[in-house]
């Protein structure tokens, strides 16, 4: 049923993707119960647990409310300038969270602590809810709402009893993504001096190379991520949410806001101002301040070239690894294909810090030659961004249905020619989009790059980080600006794919 070489390739990719998980589980078992207990049951760990939970719960809730409200305003009302608002509301995705954090911290130290952290992560991550919920609202058949209205429900009850349940998968999926990003977030929170598991793991690792404590904390973090994923699956339930029956739905009639348009516009304006305006203004301000002393053009160029090189290598490797998995999942659907595909998604729930820690330990024990090499860094990027590439490539491979292969072969083409003349032209755009997404994720990646990059390797993210740590905001600003510029196209791609629906 399955072609052997393809299956073998997929198994190897799945094994690579599972290295961090194997590491965490294996480490916990090898440490033993009493030692694990000693390392974990400490006041410090309890404090981290409270902090992390507060941040994750608060961030998910506020992102869900803000994202859903914004999506409803943009998709379902007669708000003026809805197209512009859509772009502006999705745009904060182009600003890495640690840059948002930088914008605020360099402005006022009042941003530090829980309220500041909650505000900043919400501003950085609410688009992860806004985009899927908006897409779901767009795909929602207005006939459902009309039926509810004709059955005697008012607008609010219609929203609560018909629209909201339909939005549940998108809302939960988006909130889950926010939660996982918050668990993995390092740069933004470190800058805000708000310790969570991730920042504590980094500190432990850096301060003492105390791998035992760091590894145990990593185990707890992975467990936390697992709980989130399972909770989301459980809450989503087994209902069907798709439209039933044939035919396409009509576009919805937008709700009339009336006088409510004024506070709605003010609210959205405030969100955009806080999420986008403050960080960008801050970068510009420090750019002006910084360049008045010295503009490090050579350093900037080196960091850009290094970052671009790493991004290119990471994107190519990840796409090459994801292709067999996506191909198997689309062309040979079945239990094994699904299992292998899913196993590459575990990285979604593995924070960069865990991936990095796992690769450090495993490489030192198994293959010391690769430690502190670019190859290991590329491997970390591949593991971390494999899920994005797989999702993009799945869609790409689905653009080339097998019936086209059949037709081409019946027309006399050898399999290699079929691949060249039919499959490749059809999947190329999707593969390219996947590669761009990975490229831009690599360019703005901070945590794993800090832990794994060979000595002397300087990227935009690491240069930005070391300058910020030295409170040299002027020197950090050009790096932040470049990262934002580089991220903009990826954000555009993301909003466009969300436009097409979930």
């Amino acid at each position: 049923m399955y072609p052997r070489p393809l299956l073998l390739a997929c198994v190897l990719v799945a094994l690579l993707a599972a290295v961090p998980l194997f590491f965490v589980v294996g480490y916990t078992i090898s440490v033993g119960w009493s030692e694990a207990w000693r390392l974990l049951v400490r006041p410090r760990v309890g404090e981290l647990l409270v902090n992390t939970t507060e941040l994750v719960a608060g961030g998910m809730a506020s992102s869900a409310v803000l994202g859903t409200a914004a999506a409803w305003l943009v998709e379902r009302t007669d708000l003026p300038g809805r197209r512009v608002w859509h772009v502006l509301l999705a745009a904060p995705l182009a600003v890495p969270a640690f840059v948002v954090s930088f914008g605020w911290v360099s402005l006022t130290s009042a941003a530090q602590g829980y309220p500041g952290a909650l505000l900043i992560v919400t501003l950085a991550y609410y688009p992860l809810v806004y985009l899927p919920v908006g897409a779901a609202l767009r795909g929602l058949d207005p006939a459902l709402e009309e039926s509810a209205r004709s059955l005697g429900l008012g607008p609010w009850r219609t929203f609560a009893r018909v629209v909201l349940p339909q939005l549940r998968p998108a809302l939960l999926g988006g909130a889950l993504l926010v939660g996982l990003h918050l668990l993995a977030e390092f740069g933004a929170l470190q800058m805000l001096r708000f310790p969570t598991f991730t920042t504590a793991i980094y500190d432990q690792y850096r301060s003492s190379f105390n791998s035992a404590a760091a590894n145990m904390l990593a185990g707890v973090l992975v467990l936390y991520c697992g709980v989130l994923v399972v909770a989301e699956l459980g809450l989503r339930g087994r209902h069907r949410y798709a439209r039933l029956g044939p035919g396409s739905s009509r576009p919805a009639v937008p709700a009339r806001l009336g006088w409510f348009a004024v506070p709605a516009l003010a609210g959205l304006g405030a969100v955009v101002l806080l999420a986008l305006g403050i960080p960008l203004a801050s970068i510009v301000r420090w750019l002006v301040v910084g360049t008045s002393t010295a503009f490090p053009a050579a350093d900037l160029a080196t960091a850009t070239v290094t970052a671009a090189g790493l991004g290119l290598a990471g994107a190519l490797t990840t796409v090459v690894l994801a292709l067999p998995v996506a191909w198997l999942a689309v062309r040979h659907p079945g239990r094994i294909g699904t299992l292998l595909e899913r196993s590459t998604y575990t990285a979604n729930a593995l924070p960069g810090i865990v991936v990095a820690l796992a690769l450090v330990t495993v490489s030192l024990r198994v293959l010391p030659a690769v430690y502190q090499t670019t190859a290991l860094l590329i491997a970390a990027y591949s593991i971390m961004f494999l899920p994005r590439a797989t999702v993009a490539l799945r869609a790409a491979v689905a653009q080339a249905p097998p019936v086209l292969d059949d037709v081409a072969r019946a027309l006399g083409l050898r399999p290699a020619r079929v691949w060249w003349r039919v499959t490749l032209p059809l999947i190329a755009p999707g593969v390219g989009a996947g590669a761009i997404l990975v490229f831009l994720a690599v360019v703005t990646e901070l945590t794993a790059t800090l832990l794994l990059s060979p000595t002397g390797t300087r990227t935009l993210a690491t240069e930005f980080w070391s300058n910020t740590n030295d409170i040299d905001y002027g020197a950090a600003a050009p790096y932040a600006g470049l990262m934002v510029l580089l991220s903009a196209p990826a954000t555009f791609l993301l909003t466009r794919s969300a436009r097409r629906g979930p």
Partner: protein, 360 residues
């Protein structure tokens, strides 16, 4: 000459048997329709003929050439069959001309003359030559798919439910244009469909498939009038089954004494009457009892019945009738311009010979 011979072909997918020994002969230059309900294995048969998979056993020959048999399986790209899948499956990255020329050598593709020729053959306007598939209607896509399949002059064209995705009005005209193009080219074609109207109206030969076997193959008229089994009878059209006793060439049943086809069974039997064979004659006269007497004696044409329901389709209508004598309900198909009212009393007679099967 026979263009395609399939013999004793079997194929299983895991525990499910898709083909349980299929025999089929397609004469040169004709259109054969394989007709069967979904899941009967007809698409599997088509794909094996095309070479997209190998049978578990049996042989497939194209004319004199064996393309599949013990120790031999010609790959799909060397079988020279034209393949027209459901919904056309045009290459989305190529325009109409490039799609049609896809299977041609590079030099012929450049010239582009063949593409224009084929557009004309399938009855499409030359102005469509540089459109992309998404800019065509469903029917146009289907015609381009046929042109693409015909371009390399294949010995055999395989069509897999090519019209099922089109709406009713387009389906008929597209199907006509496609078969017309096949006939002009004298191309042998195998058409797979679950639509009996399509099979009966388009094909020179219809082969009815059920549970992985061809249960009957022959000219459409024969399949419809003299089906080999009640299953075939019910699948190719509406059927009324009535129990009867056959003596010689006469069957005696609730509908009176009917003529049966030669070579029918003797004794207890199940009669097949097509609804359009049942003639409904005006209102039965007032003297109901007397008329019934006449009917029982067979003195006057037909038996008395009560109209219980009428479904009107415009061009014709179906009429539900309850026979006075037995209380049995039968369905008749009558022209739309001669309709009885529900509740009317009528006389019912049967035109032409009927088919008798052994009683189940």
């Amino acid at each position: 000459m026979t263009a395609l011979t399939v013999s004793q072909v079997t194929k299983s997918f895991g525990a499910t048997t898709a083909l349980a020994g299929v025999d089929l002969q397609v004469p040169d230059g004709t259109v054969t329709a394989v007709l069967g309900p979904s899941g009967c294995g007809k698409t599997t048969l088509l794909r094996l003929v095309a070479g997209f998979g190998d049978p578990d056993g049996g042989t497939i020959d194209f004319g004199g050439e064996r393309v599949f048999g013990p120790g031999r399986s010609l790959p799909a790209q060397r079988r020279r069959v034209g393949y027209v899948p459901q919904e056309g499956a045009l290459f989305p990255h190529a325009d109409v001309t490039a799609n049609i020329g896809f299977g041609l050598p590079r030099a012929d593709r450049r010239a582009g003359r063949r593409a224009a020729e084929l557009l004309d053959l399938v009855g499409l306007d030359a102005s469509l030559a540089h459109r992309f598939p998404h800019q065509l209607s469903g029917g146009q896509q289907q015609r381009v798919a046929l042109a693409r399949a015909l371009a390399p002059r294949p010995s055999l064209v395989l069509l897999d439910e090519p019209f099922s995705s089109l709406d009713a009005a387009l389906r008929l005209s597209t199907a006509r244009a496609v078969v017309e193009a096949l006939r002009i080219n004298r191309t042998t074609a195998l058409l797979v469909t679950h639509d009996q109207n399509e099979a009966l109206s388009l094909a020179d030969q219809a082969a009815v498939m059920s549970a992985g076997r061809i249960v009957q193959a022959g000219p459409p008229q024969e399949i419809y009038r003299a089906p080999a089994s009640p299953v075939v009878a019910a699948f190719v059209g509406a059927a009324v089954f009535v129990p009867a006793v056959v003596t010689g060439r006469t069957a005696s049943c609730d509908l009176g004494e009917l003529a049966v086809r030669t070579g029918s069974v003797e004794g207890a039997a199940r009669l097949l009457v097509r609804p359009e064979q049942i003639r409904v004659d005006g209102a039965a006269d007032g003297g109901g009892a007397a008329a019934e007497e006449d009917a029982r004696d067979g003195g006057q044409a037909g038996v008395a019945a009560l109209v219980t329901a009428v479904s009107y389709f415009g061009h014709d209508a179906t009429v539900q009738l309850r026979l006075d004598g037995s209380g049995r309900t039968v369905t008749a198909r009558v022209p739309g311009n001669r309709l009885p009212e529900p509740g009317a009393r009528v006389r019912v007679a049967v035109d032409g010979p009927v088919t008798a099967f052994t009683a189940a």
